[in-house]
Amino acid sequence: MTVYFLCVVLLTMGLYCLVAKKNIVKKVIGIVIMEYAVNLYLIIVGYKTGGVAPIVEPGMGETALERFVDPLPQALVLTSIVIGLGVLALMVSMCIRLYEKHGTFDMSHISKLRG
């Protein structure tokens, strides 16, 4: 239970970074922390103490099945890391473009639209 709680703490730290920081690069870092918190959460969901890789080999007893780690969350995390990578590349390139336009990373100087 504690580990799940710590995941949520990490998530909130990312959210804090996103909301409180004015620098857009730091906002991007906040988003990345949030994504990694959720990835960590998914990994913990599939974790098993003393688990083994889920590869079925000939002559394996029924008891071995019990010790298999659930591979699905790991596949999910791999996918979400890849998606996160794509989004991160887009975010960073937008930050650079914004810097080119405004000469600053400070959101309070950039923001002109009213929301």
């Binding site: 960073v92 650079i96 473009r97």
Partner: protein, 151 residues
């Protein structure tokens, strides 16, 4: 002089080929051992990124041009999609219509191997392109930042 010191350049030249071979191994044996198209593609892309860091982007682009990179990137994705379409001929999208072969042989498990190779092309080239695009960006915008600081 472009790039880093001569020590880094020499080591880079020496290491790059091995990294590419290791990446290719990870891709080709992805269906037998841990690894696969994504991991192998990332390793191959790392070789090119190392080249770019060591020698500057001109040398890296001479090995893999920007347009060539884009074309390989799309071609990898299209090849992966094509594998799905081949499966559709058997009734289901991504149905493994090729023979499964003997377990633990290189040419086994049907479409997993071609799919891994397609993914490796897609991931390797697109990571390289992303890095190259950001590096080109960096040169332009940070020079102006430094000039601002100095003036």
């Amino acid at each position: 002089m472009k790039g880093l010191t001569v020590i880094v350049k020499t080591i880079t030249d020496f290491v790059v080929a091995f990294i590419v071979i290791f990446g290719a191994y990870i891709v080709l044996y992805g269906h037998l051992t841990p690894g696969g198209g994504f991991a192998g593609g990332v390793i191959v892309a790392c070789a090119f990124i190392l080249l770019m860091l060591g020698h500057g982007k001109e040398v890296a682009f001479s090995r893999l041009g920007e347009r060539m990179g884009h074309v390989l990137d799309s071609a990898g994705a299209l090849a992966f999609l094509l594998i799905g379409w081949i499966g559709l001929a058997g009734g289901y999208f991504f149905l493994n219509v090729f023979g499964r072969g003997d377990q633990f042989r290189l040419l086994s498990s049907g479409m997993i191997l071609p799919a891994n190779i397609a993914i490796a092309f897609k991931v390797g080239t697109s990571l390289f392109i992303v890095f190259a695009a950001l590096a080109v960006f960096r040169r332009r915008s940070f020079r102006s930042m430094i000039e601002d600081e100095l003036s």
